[in-house]
Each structure stands twice: as C-alpha cells, then as structure tokens.
C-alpha cells in the first residue's frame, strides 16, 4: 500500500501548486538561477571567509560560474519537529523554557514554527518571528508516530524569495502511522528547497511500549494481522521484532504494519540529499533541546549560499550537483551541499511560477478551460455538460494534473474539483477513463490530508470520495480509500459501514465468499445507532443470499418500521418479500411487497415482486393488474433498489454539496 505513495508523490510534484511548495531553483533576477546552500566544516567548526573563486560547482558534471556567494545575510525560516510519541506527557514549562532559548538563538528576521508529532501532527504555533509565542499546550501522546508525514508537511512549505528554510526533526526514527513512507520522503527531499536535519533521539523503550500498548487498546483498527511470510518473523526461540522494539510481546498475532518497512537509512539519505545530515545523540555534549538546536542552527547559519545560472546543461530533468572547496587545505574540510535539484518537464519556463491557468496564452484545452470556467462560476450543470464533451477523459485528467491547481490560493477548491472530475470519469464507459479517474482520486487523497489532526474538510473529502467510488461498485478496489478514511476518522460510523459495504460488493455474486467476514463487519457497524438500521438491512440481504432466511428475517425485524429513512423503509419491505418467497411463504411475500409499494408508490421493483408472487400463487387477475400498473408507469423517482449495490452513492449529491461549501 505504501509503495503507491511514491507514484502519488511523483504526480503531486508535477502539479504547479506543489511545485511551488517543493523545489525552487530559481530566483528573481530575470533569468533562471539556482541557489545552493553549502556548509563547510573544518573540524567541528564552520569555515568562514570563502569566496566564489574558492568553490568548484558542477551541474550534471559541467562546471558552473558562481555569480554570488551569500553568507549570513538571508533570514531563516525554521520548522522544528518534536516527536513526542515515545515520550511521557510533555512538561509544558520545560518545553516552554527550551523554546525561549531557541528563540534567543534566532536573528531578528528569522522565523520559527513548532510541530509536535505523535499519532497526528500538531502545529504548536505557525511560522512567526521571535516575538512572544503562544503558551505551549502539551497534548497527551497518542503513542504512534507520523514523523514521515510531519517531515513532508514541513518540507512542502514554499520557501519564500530571499529566505532559507531549515527543518530540524527530533525523533527516534520510528514511524507507525504516516501516509507517506521513507522512500517517499527521500524522493520528496530531493525536490525540496529546505535543508533537513534529523536529530536522533533515544526513546525510553518502556515509555514507547506503554504508549503503543495504550494506543493499541484505544485504536485496534491501526493494528493489522501479522504477515506469515514476513522475513522479519521470529525464528524458533527468537523474540518477535515488535517485542524487542516495543514490548508488545503478547500480541504477535497482530503487529504494527509500519515496522515492516522501517528505513532509517532512507531518512538519512533524505537529509543528506538536502545538504542536511543526521546527528547522533552522542554528537552533542548537551542533549537539551535548545543545545541540540543551537548546534544545528549555527552550522546552517554559517553555511554559504551559492547562486549561479546553469550553463551548458539541459534545463529540465534532474541536475546532479557536486560542490568542492578548491582553497588550500580543503582536503580536510567537510563540505555538505544538496545532491541536486529537479526541474519538471511540465514546469513553466517563467520563473514567477504562474500557474498555467493564468498564463497569457492559456495553454489548456478548450474543454478543460470551459470546465474550469463553469466550475469557477459555480455553474456545476455547465461544468458537467462541458465534461461530457471530453472524448479522451484520461487525457483531460493528465492535462489537469500538468496545468496544476486552477485556484492556487485555495487548495480546498482544487480538492473538490478533483473529486468531481474523478467522479465523472469513474462512470465513463471506457476502461482507460475509469482507470485515470481512479488514479487521480487515489493519488490526490494523499494530499488532501492536513498536517495536523484530521479536520472537517478532510472528513467531508473522504465521504464525498467514498460515496462516488462506491457508486461504481468497485468492491475491494475501494478498500485502500475506505481504510485510510477509517484510520483518519475512526469514530466516523459511515466509514465503518462503508468498509462493510465494499466488502459486500466484492462478493456480491455466488458463492458469496467471505460472507461471514462481511456479516461480522455489518454486525460491528450495527452497534452504532447512527447506522444500525442500514447495517441490519444489508446484513439481512446478505443472509438471504447465502440461504439463511430465518436469520435474514430476524435482522429485518430489528429495524424499526418507522425508520425515518424512506429508502431503508422501502428496502426493508422489499427484502422481506424476497425472503418470504425463498421460504415459500407467498402470501406473506405479497403482504410485504404491498407494504413496500405503500411506502414508495412509484417504485417498480416492489410491483414486479408482487406481480410474480401473485402469478405464482395462481392469482392471475391480481398478477395481471400489477402487470398493467407496471406497463402504465413512466419515468419517476429512482427505485432505491436499483441503487442498492451502489452503497453510499445515494449520498453523493449531498456529500459533494457539503464539500463545495466547505471549500469556500
């Protein structure tokens, strides 16, 4: 599952919005230029006083002329990430004192933001100058760590013109719940302008174990069954991996999936590719937070910024950088610089990073332009009509991805647009369109996630996306999306029910494999009053299909006859009719079908059920009367039965409407 993130990242980095937030090899001098931070250490101290002539800089092996060397002149934006997942409850006063010391290190033009990391990323305070910051409010540790996501959130921030960005992450390196994985962080770092320094913290194993055990009890959905083929599985007489690392010795049958791809080497590679480094605890004489930070910050402040205009190299693609110091005695110097930078083929040539949408020649197709234009005016009917004119939907999506966010100042607007674009493509009759739409939704779902705790917009996003996807009856193909939503919002009952529904969709045809597991999911969902009625209804229909008619009747009986949801009321009676037919109780079936018709007079399926039941009973006048009524029916409301297999799709209009409102 995590491997997919790399694809997502590659896609994300091709969009203008994220390109702004990642790699900026240009500065405003009228021509493309590249800035490179270079740290030169002599022993344990930064080496000062070097000039342009002292450096040798190769871009893809071609020596470049360095235009400018800046030292200590550019203000620094600092993102400080504190992994508290293996900590006891943070001591507010102690951290506040450390932050005061850190702010004292900053220059007057420098800025600082602080995030704490456990199960979620908490922004303690946003990027701001060294003025009084708000009181530090410690949060109880969730026990899990999303350090990868936190690093991504920090590294994706755009580096403002004439400023530098330093990311310092204090962590023991264990990530358990991030959406992104270590390879994704490595790839992202290569394209980020920020310098990443990772300070390894030594966590107390007992504290981490306690935190994780506590979290495991609170959120069992975040634990997964052990993988028998896992090469890390213990041999005879060996302790299991997670027992050694976390103390979770008694639960080998379930373990934290992220331990399967813990990759400290990749994190180190990520840091070094930005010109940063990994600092072992022993490197510092003083392990106070402020002391550690001072050491990293001083090194960074004293680094050089080399600026040059690339010559004799292709503009686009990956550029490998090599930086050396040519001055006398340089062999003993330690030189750190980023390993390279990338310019996407699709990136605009203009250094002002204007989205393609705003470019004077407006290079997007007429179809996409008209869709966006209509969408911009909130004329959704016109947008839908414009989309219908797209013959090659996959090409349209690719064009959208390349052009980037039409609303650069409002990422939420783009998120809604993505859902609606994907929802249209998912229902196209040709497989390539459906595939492109599915990819778009899956990839973008990684990006809508807020860096902090899940918020209402993210919840609405997942709900709209799930309702749309369920409409295509994808079965297990929708599980990654639903499971991600469940993890982000474990208390959202509709996501819990959605999990059961897509499982049911997966096995909707005989022989109904895995029916018991799906029934268990429905049973679990039925414990929540908000969704109990639908869970019982769907459970009943599955029981009917697997031949357990009496249990199906029992499940239908649990539903209240005065269920407020009219669709569920109708389906309850319709299914009761089917169950009674299967029990050869034709009179009872006819009664149930009549009740269904009474609750939904325009529904056709119940009339067909009544007609065939009466016909089989030998009531020919009754059957023929029902048949004449069916013949006389014209277009009317959608029979809820026709949408039964589309699960939550019936909520899609309301879900997308709510998402639209939330994006404004």
């Amino acid at each position: 599952m995590r491997r997919a993130v790399r694809t997502a990242l590659a896609l994300a980095l091709s969009s203008t919005a994220l390109a702004q937030a990642t790699q900026q090899p240009t500065f405003r001098t009228g021509v493309d230029g590249v800035s490179v931070d270079v740290t030169v250490m002599s022993g344990t101290s930064p080496l000062a006083g070097l000039k342009a002539a002292d450096f040798v800089l190769l871009d893809n092996g071609v020596r470049q002329t360095i235009d400018v060397v800046d030292t200590q002149t550019l203000p620094i934006d600092v993102s400080l990430l504190l992994d508290t997942s293996a900590s006891e409850k943070p001591q507010a006063d102690g951290i506040r004192r450390e932050l005061d010391k850190i702010e004292a290190v900053l220059g007057p033009e420098d800025r600082l933001e602080v995030m704490t990391i456990d199960t979620y990323v908490h922004q303690v305070f946003p990027m701001r100058g060294p003025s009084a910051h708000p009181l530090f409010s410690p949060t109880a540790s969730g026990g899990l760590s999303s350090i990868y996501d936190a690093i991504a959130a920090a590294m994706l921030q755009p580096v403002l013109a004439n400023r530098r960005h330093l990311v310092v992450a204090l962590t023991d390196g264990y990530d358990t719940v991030s959406t992104l994985d270590a390879p994704a962080i490595r790839d992202l770092a290569r394209r980020s302008d920020a310098a990443l320094h990772i300070v390894s913290a030594i966590a107390a194993p007992t504290v981490r174990a306690q935190n994780m055990q506590s979290e495991a009890k609170r959120r069992p959905e975040l634990m997964v069954p052990a993988i028998p083929a896992d090469p890390r599985a213990p041999g005879p007489g060996e302790l299991p991996q997670q027992c050694v690392e976390t103390g979770l010795c008694e639960q080998w049958s379930r373990f934290w999936l992220p331990f399967a791809d813990s990759s400290p080497d990749l994190l180190a590679e990520a840091a070094r590719s930005t010109g940063g480094d990994v600092h072992d605890p022993g490197w510092f004489a003083n392990r106070d937070l402020s002391s550690i930070f001072r050491q990293v910050f001083d090194d960074y402040r004293h680094s050089y910024v080399l600026r040059y205009t690339p010559a004799n190299v292709a503009r686009t693609g990956w550029h490998t950088l090599t930086v050396r110091v040519a001055a006398a005695g340089s062999q003993s110097y330690l030189v750190r610089a980023r390993s390279g930078y990338a310019i996407d083929t699709a990136a605009p040539a203009s250094p002002d990073r204007t989205p393609l949408w705003a470019a004077p020649d407006h290079p997007v197709s007429a179809v996409l332009a008209s869709v966006v234009d209509a969408y911009d005016r909130e004329d959704y009917q016109a947008a839908a009509s414009a989309l219908e004119r797209a013959n090659d939907f996959g090409k349209l999506i690719h064009e959208f991805e390349t052009a980037g966010n039409p609303w650069p100042s409002n990422p939420h607007r783009e998120a809604v647009f993505v859902v609606e674009l994907a929802a249209t493509g998912l229902f196209r009759s040709d497989a390539p369109s459906r595939l492109a739409a599915s990819d778009l939704l899956r990839n973008y779902s990684r990006l809508v996630r807020s860096s902090g705790e899940p918020d209402e917009f993210e919840r609405l996003y997942y709900w709209a996306a799930i309702t749309a996807v369920e409409g295509t009856i994808p079965g297990a193909a929708a599980l990654p999306l639903v499971e991600t939503a469940e993890k982000r919002f474990p208390d959202e009952p509709r996501f819990q029910l959605a999990h059961a529904i897509v499982s049911d969709q997966e096995h909707s045809l005989p022989p109904y494999a895995d029916a018991d597991r799906t029934l268990d999911l429905y049973a679990a969902a039925a414990t929540n009053p908000a969704i109990a009625a639908e869970a019982h209804l769907r459970s009943a229909f599955l029981l009917h299909r697997v031949g357990r008619q009496d249990l199906a009747l029992n499940a239908l009986d649990v539903m209240m006859p005065d269920e407020p949801d009219a669709d569920l009321r109708y389906l309850r009676n319709l299914f009761r009719g089917r169950v009674q037919v299967s029990r050869d109780q034709f009179n009872a079936a006819a009664f149930a079908y009549r009740a269904a018709i009474a609750s939904a007079p325009d529904a056709q399926a119940a009339r067909v059920g009544l007609m065939t039941t009466l016909f089989r009973l030998g009531d020919l006048p009754g059957a023929e009367s029902a048949e004449r009524e069916i013949e006389a029916m014209r277009s009317g409301p959608i029979d809820p039965w026709w949408r039964y297999w589309q699960g939550d799709f019936r909520f899609y209009p309301a879900a997308i409407d709510a998402l639209r409102k939330a994006s404004r």
């Binding site: 998912l426 229902f427 196209r428 009759s429 497989a431 459906r434 295509t472 009856i473 994808p474 909707s508 045809l509 319709l574 089917r578 037919v581 056709q604 399926a605 119940a606 067909v608 059920g609 007609m611 065939t612 016909f615 089989r616 030998g618 020919l620 059957a623 023929e624 029902a626 048949e627 004449r628 069916i630 013949e631 006389a632 029916m633 014209r634 277009s635 029979d639 039965w641 026709w642 297999w645 589309q646």
Partner: protein
C-alpha cells in the same frame, strides 16, 4: 449482481442460428371445457415440415396419450412482445441495429398480428402497446439511449405475465447482453413464471454473454416455453435473428386437446413426438399448470 459500469457490448446478427424448430403451448379454457393448445415446431433440417395432420402427432400429458381435437397451421393471429435492452452496455450502433430489427419484424407481421414493445434498463418501460404501426415502434427505439443497469429478469417476468390473451398466440422476443444487474426477480422465480405463462420466450443474446450458467439459465427458460436462445455475434444482423424467430413461430403447428385421464390441477408434463421416419427436430413446451 454486476456493476453498472461495463464494457460496451458489440452486437451483431444471428450467424449461429440453429436449424431450429420451436413448439409452444397455450392452455386455453373455453366454453366450460378445458382445452389446451400446444405450439409444436417440426423441422426437417433447416426447413419447417409442412402438411402434418393430427394423427401424425403423439402427444402425452403426464405420460398419458391424448387425443388431438384440432390442429391449425399459420392461422391464428400472433401477439409479439419485444423486450429490448437499453442499458449502459448497449451503445448507439446496437440501438440502431435493434431499431432496424424491430422494423423488419413488423414488416413480417400478418394483417391480424400485433406488436408490443418494451425497453428496459433498470426501469421497464412499455414503449408501444399492441400496435401494427411500424413507425411508432421505430420512433420509440430511436428515442432510447443506453444507460443504467439491466433488469432483464424483471422485464421477462412482466412480458410473460402480460402475454395473457388466450385467443392469440403469444411470442416473446428478448434482446439483451444477458447480464442482469438490477432485477428484483430471481432465477428460480422467473423459471416458475415461464412455466405458468402462455407465451413462448425466445431470447436473443449477445454471444459474449453466452457463457456458463448464464446460457444454461436462459436455455432453461426457453425450453420451458418451447422457445429458443439465439446467440448473435458482433457484426452480424440482428434483423435476421428477429425474422427467423418470427418465421419459426409462425410455421409451428398448434395442437388443441382436452386433457383426458389426468388430474386437472398441478403441473402437467407434456411430450410431443411425430410419427414420421427420418430425423426430425420436434419442439414443444415442457408442460403447463392445470387449473
């Protein structure tokens, strides 16, 4: 159930038409005496065998030989009910082929014959009630657009129950890709309806859907009623399949008998044979329900 979103089917006409004969049955109740009518198709090779008389047939009701009171050939008027799949899997080319097929079939109807037209996706719509107006039927198909799920079982049930006029021969022709997605009817239920119906059900199916249990099921429905399943392959002419169905139905014998020596109620198994030498293909419905 299957997803609504399916790959578009390609359609064509009947290239695989078997040298078929079909037999049909209509239990008719007249003048206080129960009379059963049975359509019997007799073919020698690809051609219908004409000129048979009542004594040429061996008809058994629950294995009891019956006396045939009357026999008719191409004299009774026909009610043809056409049910056309206009679900998402049916694209414009197929719709155009269906329109031409219905026009061709109407051109072959006799002066007393009538046509009723249903279209169905998830919703069943009677597009044209019994008529001999070819233009009305054609216009109804032209206005159809392929979208939505497929309620083929429900559509067949409605058409079979609706084919109840006893003084006319009832033919049902269903054209579909065969994959049901939204019917409330179940297969067992539809088979029972077919046994009880007066109509002969001919099912014209896309060849690509003629696989496994799906083909077995539609063949079971057709056999119950004395009908046929006709697969069509991409690029062939649907009109030819429709005209063949009608021609085969029209050239069937209708045997009338008053059941003797059997219980009136319950299901009656029918067997029909022809007392002629040589290989003949004789088809009749497999039974009927007594009053």
């Amino acid at each position: 159930m299957v997803p609504f979103v399916r790959s578009t089917i390609a359609l064509a006409a009947a290239a695989l038409l078997a040298a078929a004969s079909a037999a049909r049955q209509q239990p008719v109740f007249r003048s206080g005496v129960d009379v059963v009518s049975v359509d019997v198709s007799v073919r020698a090779g690809n051609s219908p065998l004409q000129g048979l008389r009542a004594e040429d047939f061996d008809l058994r009701d629950n294995d009891v030989a019956q006396t045939i009171n009357d026999i008719s050939y191409e004299t009774q008027p026909i009610d043809a009910t056409i049910a056309l799949d206009v679900s998402q899997s049916v694209n414009g080319t197929v719709l155009d082929g269906m329109r031409k097929a219905v026009e061709a079939l109407m051109g072959d109807l006799g002066p007393g014959d009538r046509l009723k037209l249903f279209s169905f996706n998830e919703r069943i719509v009677r597009a044209v009630d019994y008529t001999s107006d070819a233009k009305a039927a054609s216009a109804a198909i032209k206005s159809a657009a392929g979208f939505g799920g497929t309620s083929i079982l429900d559509a067949m049930a409605v058409a079979l129950v609706g084919a109840h006029e006893l003084d006319r021969r009832q033919l049902l022709v269903v054209f579909s890709d065969g994959r049901d997605s939204t019917s409330i009817s179940e297969r067992d239920g539809l088979l029972d309806v077919a046994r009880r119906s007066h109509a002969a059900a001919d099912v014209v199916l896309s060849a690509r859907s003629m696989t496994g249990d799906l083909r077995d099921f539609y063949e079971a429905v057709a056999k119950e009623t004395g009908g046929l399943v006709m697969p069509v392959v991409p690029g062939s002419d649907v009109s030819k399949a429709f005209r063949t169905v009608l021609s085969d139905f029209r050239s069937s014998y209708v045997l009338h008998f008053t059941p003797q020596g059997v219980e009136r109620s319950g299901y009656h198994t029918l067997t029909v044979a022809v007392r002629r030498s040589g290989h003949l293909d004789v088809r009749a419905r497999r039974g009927y329900f007594g009053g």
